[in-house]
Structures are given as C-alpha cells and as structure tokens.
Amino acid sequence: MQTSPLKTLIAAVSLMAATHAHAEPQMATGQAMAWQCAPCHGVNGQEFSEAMPPLAGMPVKQFMDAMLAYREGTRPAVIMDRVARGFTDEELNAMAQWFAKQPIKPWEQTTLQESLSAQQAGAQAAGEKQ
C-alpha cells in the first residue's frame, strides 16, 4: 500500500501532538509493561530458582496460552488471573514477543550490555522501534 502525503502529514502531526501534550499516546511498549512483572518473575523475567516461574525466553505461544487462560479464568491461579485481566490481547502479545527474547540465564549472571541488546531485540520483535 502506498502512503499518501496526507497520511504522512497526519502521522507527523499526531506524533508532534504526542510529543507535546499527553494527547492519545501510543500503547505502552511490551518492554515497559514487562518491566512491571519483575518483582515476581525476576528482572526481565530472569529468575530461575524461585517458586514463581521464569518468563525469560518463554516461547510466545506458551506465554499467550497461559495469559489468555488466566484472563478467561480457564486456568486456575493464585494471582495471575488478577494480573492477566489488566491486559488486552495486543498488550499481551507485545509482552510475549519481548520476553521471548530475554536470555535464559539468571539476572545475576547477565551483563548490562547483554541485557540491553536482548531488550532491544525484544522491542524489535514486538514491532517497536527503539
């Protein structure tokens, strides 16, 4: 599909609007939402020795199946049903893509550089430019 000049203009204007006021900002990034899970699932989901399951490197389908089941109440849970009910399909997918790219190793053994690359890969997978 070709982008018309008008569309480009509209896009540019709305981008400016978003920069300035809080008018209609874009959906939160998968990364920003995924960060919110860290106190339970470890920094970037990289906790591998706890009762709560790790999320880093989780295949997208397993993640989505789990979250949708929690949200719809078809998978019993202690806490995740409540958490999952806070997210739309699109938001869940953005987090799924991001978590799938996080390294499967404990946070303590991950360098900052390594993590920044992985986080960037996650953002790209979620279709977000960094």
């Binding site: 989780m58 397993q62 998978r75 404990p106």
Partner: protein
Amino acid sequence: MLKRTLLAAALFSVSAIAIASGGHGEKPQANPWTHFSLDNQIRAMPSGDATRGQDIHSQMMCNACHGEKGESPSRNYASLNGQPEAYTIKMMLDYRDGRRWENYHQAEIMVKISQALNDQQIADLASFYAQHKTQPWTYAQPLAAAEQAPTDKVVRKGDFERMLTPCASCHGAKGEGNGVVPALAGQVPEYFVRTMKAYQSGERHNDVQKGMSQFTHDLSDEEIQALAEYYAAMDRQ
C-alpha cells in the same frame, strides 16, 4: 534447542548458591531410602481413590501448575499424568520429609503443599494421576531426524561401552514407568533436562541407592537434550 539446554543450565547453576532460607520453615531431616524401607513405606500407604484424588487436585490447586489432569501447561512444571501410583507417592513423601529439596525456593511450593496433605490424600492424588495416561506434551517438537536413531539406541539398547542400561529397561518400552520408576512419555523437556542435571551433580539424591543418578554421569548435554525431546513427543498409543 540450545535455548532449552540453557534453561536447564540456568535453573541449575543458581541452585548451587540457593541457600535454605532462614526464618520461615526449617528443613526436615529424613533418612535416605533403602529399597526395604521404601517398599515398606509404600505398602503401608492407604489405597487411593481417583475420584477423591480429582477433588484434591483442584482443592490443593495442583491444577494451577500441572493442568487439568496432570498434563503440564508450560515448560516450567512437570507433567504428572500417567505416573505410576508408587512414584507419585514417593515424590510427595520426599518433598514432605525433606528428601527432595534440590532447590529449596523452587521446591518450596511442593514442600508446603505436601506438608498440608495426609497419607490418604497423597494416595488419592496418586491414584488420580495414574488413571490418566501419558500423552505427548502439548508443545513437544519432533526430534531432529539425525538424532532419532542414536537417541532411540540409548533408550532401547543402552550403551555397553559406557555401561548405560537402556532407559526402557526400567522406564518401559513406551516410557510408561513402573512402580517407583516414573513414566517419561510426554514429560516436559525442560523439566526432564533440569532433573537429569540435578542427578548428575548430586543436587538431587532422593533416588534409592543412586539407582538413577549413576546413569546420568556419562551422558552429554546433547544426549540429555535429545532424550528430553524424544520422550516429550512419545506417544503411547
């Protein structure tokens, strides 16, 4: 595939530094099993009822992690369906009494749940899981063609050079398990690898007289990974 191995390695490497937490809850001390004491203990258990077991499966929220009938919904939890009754009973007793404590924080859920159950309830659960046959794990990937033959050989014929008894000789031709020997068919591959690694390092040692751990030492990471995938996809039908 590399990822899977990494997951197991990750689970594993931290376990070495995970210390039993102070404060809340002390680790019970139980003597290691002998064949004799284990036999006696299993025989002394009441007989289970699968219908009651199903109820407990839901009441104790086992279904949150282990699925409706014991089939695990994710890489992070073990599948329980199709396990022989004696195996499930042994695991629950091992968690309860501190024999299965290979990684305290991860095992903590099972420790606390098993401590909240009595022998009858444990037997009922065991009966429930035994009633539902193993099935290929939902997310199993077919094993790469090149790995099929060598893996199949380890499973059925073992490896005389390395004194590896065929897995099937204890775990059954269809990975169905027998008595206190677990079923492997349909097991979650990450859990399989994690377990093998824990046996290898001695972190897990609730097997009777090293009955299992002795076979893990000579297996390579690649072989363990292939075995995990082989069994995850195994169909008993």
